[in-house]
Amino acid sequence: MNRSIVRHLILKDLHLMRWMSRSALVGGLVAVGLMSVSPLPIAGGGVLLVCALVVLNIFLVMHGVVQERKDQVAVFVLSLPVSTTQYVAAKVVANLIAFSVPWLVLTAATLVMIDVSQMPNGFLPFWTAVLGYLFFYYCVLLGVGLMTTSSGWHATAIIAGNISVNFLIMALFASPSVQAYGAGDTAVWTTGMAALVVAEIVGGIAVLAAVVMTHSRRREFV
């Protein structure tokens, strides 16, 4: 019964968040289309793509997690036959799906676009790392949203996350790997670049696993 209730919670969240995922997907695909008309690695389309995923990130966490707790809707959900750990696990899974589906589609579309457009294929690792970082940023913000109802912490996480995306892009541009192979016709995956992408994905999942484990030991949730 409990597994089916967790599934019930996940489907409910996906239903409530569907318009955000769809909007980001549409906006992101338009951005990828714009990227294809420019040979530059990051121009209007690229900025729009990053913005679409950052906005999706913030909306999903603030609307689907933080607001639900602040409005005391979480109390209603927790009155159902579900434990707080199951509630948190369902939130994590639903939010991961709501973000990951558009993120995966947009990542695949970006990589295909780079391959078929006039943009050099050498930028494939660069864009993979940027999009991977947006996944990591999402996981961190989701973790903060689940751990605290403090608006101060949420604002700090959002500001720090948005600034860090800019720093990451600048750092990647300045990296020897992008400097050496970015303009090339083939994608070259240096060890450092591959490790960064793996760290982004694994790090994001580790953050969420830690959040679920921490919640299972917390003495109160609402």
Partner: protein
């Protein structure tokens, strides 16, 4: 099936500025317990401990025979919980909520839900954010009652409601306990509501239970005795007296253990009993809380 609906023993929960101390409660099937206390007494904390939302620091909590918080998910299959600060999804309709909640509960009574829609004058197609406070409480109650829970935990459900809405809700709760397997814990600081529907009363103040007993006996024990006391007469100490107010010859004694013998005690001491008044639950509640606070302070 004959286990107590609620059985908590020695529950403690400490916060920085509040301490829930040694709470023990037992609620049998078929009973309605009025859980009365001023704001900040610990009513909501106790109820959230029963729901597994807050883990106590110490003590044993059993709800319908299940250990909580460990088995909270199992216990909550047969528990309905409504609190005044609980909210539904504002952008969704009541019909959406009913469709979403119904499949979770095998015992969901669709016919009863429809009857409650009519009784509470609710429109299923209306979004929650378009409902008034009273309608929102009724909608939440509908979602809970239609599950046919064995235990209802109601945390200030009538707060902020108009008298008609309160009457409708209390009447529905009285209906629920016609089935003797069901029990209700009803928290409120509105003593009028509690007096109306409860057969057991528990007073809570500053995290401690002050009194817990059946409503009729409890109210019957309390009296306010008005006396004419000559200046040279000193009123004797009597068991159960919680307060004595004296102004010249007039004295008013509040007692929690009234028997006609008390009149004789005062008469023999030289006072004249002028009137013996029954007290309302609100007066008893205030007297109990103030007496307890004076004792703690001294």
């Amino acid at each position: 099936m004959n286990e107590p609906a609620i059985d908590i023993v020695g529950v403690e929960k400490a916060y920085r500025f509040f301490h829930l101390s040694n709470i023990s409660l037992r609620l049998e099937p078929g009973q309605i317990m009025g859980f009365v206390g001023p704001n900040g007494a610990g009513k909501s904390t106790t109820i959230r401990i029963l729901m597994g939302m807050i883990r106590p620091d110490r003590g044993d909590v059993r709800v319908l025979g299940h250990q909580v918080p460990r088995d909270q998910a199992i216990a909550k299959r047969e528990v309905g919980y409504v609190s005044d600060d609980m909210r539904l999804y504002g952008s969704q309709t009541l019909a959406w909520h009913m469709d979403w909640v119904a499949p979770i509960y095998p015992g969901w009574d669709a016919a009863y839900a429809t009857a409650l829609l009519k009784r509470f004058h609710l429109h299923p197609a209306q979004t929650i954010k378009a409902l008034s406070h009273g309608e929102r409480v009724k909608a939440t109650l509908l979602l809970v009652l239609a599950r046919r829970p064995r235990l209802l935990l109601l945390d200030e459900p009538t707060t902020g409601l108009d008298p008609v809405a309160r009457h409708e809700i209390l009447a529905e709760l009285m209906d629920v306990v016609r089935d003797e397997r069901r029990a209700i814990l009803f928290s409120s600081h509105n003593t009028q509501d509690v007096e109306q529907i409860s057969d057991v009363i528990t007073f809570l103040d500053r995290g401690r239970i002050l009194e817990s007993s059946d409503t009729a006996t409890f109210i019957d024990r309390w009296r306010r005795v008005h006396l004419d006391v000559p200046a040279q007469v000193t009123l004797p100490d009597a068991a159960g007296v919680t307060e004595t107010q004296r102004n010249g010859r007039v004295a008013v004694v509040t007692t929690s253990a009234y028997t006609p013998d008390l009149d004789s005690v005062y008469t023999q001491a030289g006072a004249t009993v002028q009137d013996v008044q029954r007290m309302t639950l609100e007066e008893i509640f205030v007297a109990t809380v103030m007496h307890n606070r004076r004792e703690v302070a001294s």
